[in-house]
């Protein structure tokens, strides 16, 4: 579970992006919805420890991320994975890209290979294992970025517009994978403009407006007014 307690954040030389957000990302799937620039991405990045809030607390499984010592903070950060809305792939093959997070964590080769294989299989990427990641389409890159996140088996998975570049089949596949993860106890947060996706997969929805939580509850209830 990730808790944001009265979190405030301003980008350098920018307006206040979050103005006292109180939000809990618990087991299951939470959709963050709201207009562009409302603060959804900032919430995900703060939850992942990528941005430090100006005020307020970020609790990951009950531990304060920013008052923890560096070793503990790294451990907490490693339980959360954030996937950016513009999928980043690096030079090298798809397999190497998917293995990246496991290599960072020093996972032994054999275990890493198994993790990579499973993640690629889940997202239908096995055929592309030895393809150069840079030659992939935007949709395939998005799947690679997601597979890279899944390979490290995070307890908390934060996704920014995960289906933005996907066709119908892959969108359904991703939705299925996210539901499976949620059933296995992973807390998933999805920032999305895809109303149908939010309705289809979410257990909860949170409406973010102007840097604040404007509403939260069941997805149909929150999304009804949008």
């Amino acid at each position: 579970m990730i808790e944001l307690l009265d979190v405030r954040y301003s980008y350098p030389r920018g307006a206040e992006a979050l103005r006292g957000v109180a939000l809990t990302i618990r087991e299951g799937i939470t959709s963050l919805v709201g207009p562009n620039g409302s603060g959804k991405t900032t919430i995900l990045k703060i939850s992942a420890g990528l941005l430090r809030p100006a005020a307020g607390q970020v609790l990951v499984d009950g531990s304060d991320l920013w008052s923890a010592d560096p070793e503990e903070r790294l451990r907490l950060r490693r339980s959360v994975v954030y996937v950016h809305e513009s999928p980043v792939v690096m030079r090298g093959t798809v397999e190497e890209n998917v293995a990246f997070g496991l290599r960072l964590r020093g996972v032994p080769d054999e275990e890493a290979r198994e993790g990579v294989r499973e993640a690629m299989e889940m997202l239908g990427l096995s055929q592309l294992a030895s393809a150069s990641a840079r030659t992939l389409s935007a949709g395939q890159r998005q799947l690679v970025a997601l597979a890279r996140a899944l390979a490290v088996s995070p307890r908390h998975l934060l996704l920014d517009e995960p289906t933005a570049n996907l066709d119908r089949e892959n969108r359904r596949r991703v939705a299925r994978v996210l539901r499976t993860l949620a059933r296995e106890g992973v807390s998933v947060a999805v920032a999305t403009h895809d109303r149908l996706l939010a309705l289809e997969i979410s257990d909860r929805a949170v409406l973010i407006e102007d840097g604040l939580v404007a509403a939260e509850g069941g997805p149909s209830e929150v999304l009804e007014g949008l």
């Binding site: 350098p12 990528l50 980043v88 490290v152």
Partner: protein
Amino acid sequence: MARSLAISGSATLLASTWSIPLAVKLVIGGDSRASRLALDLLNSLTSVPTVVIGLVMYLILSRSGPLGFLNLLYTPVAIALGQAVLVTPLITSAAAASLSGVHEVVWEMAMALGATERQAAGAMLREALPSILTVVLLGFNRALGELGIALMLGGNIRGFTRVMTTAIALEVSRGEFELALSLSGILLSLAIVVNVAIRRMGERR
């Protein structure tokens, strides 16, 4: 020719050992006032004439200078040190420009997957490797083609500190233009061969 390559190669490697980590540091601290100031300063220093650096290094390495006790003046090491100082701003600012292209995406992606800052910097460097190689090559070419430092710190001693550029200058002063032109041709060919070889290496990676 071998001496020119060895001296300028060592100078470039030496400068790269501090310039590239410095570039990483500056890119990571991108928004801070200190980083911006440092980058502005380094950009300005790229255009300092080689004789000015030669003069400053001469004063440092001369017998009465702070490093005079090392007896390095008029040795190949002195030329390499001078050239390393010369190419430091160039390598640092060009490497910082290359790295800032990958910083935003690769740094965040690596950190989002649980990288330490050191691991994220490593990922950023790996991703920018082809352009970093080009930057190092640029530094090598600058070192290979400079004259002021080699002349002031090396003294153009035959068989010891004479490099291609000082040899060309000497032949011109003697009126041996044909020989000077031949040496210039060799220097140019050398620069082209090294350029092409390193670029191909970068492409293969």
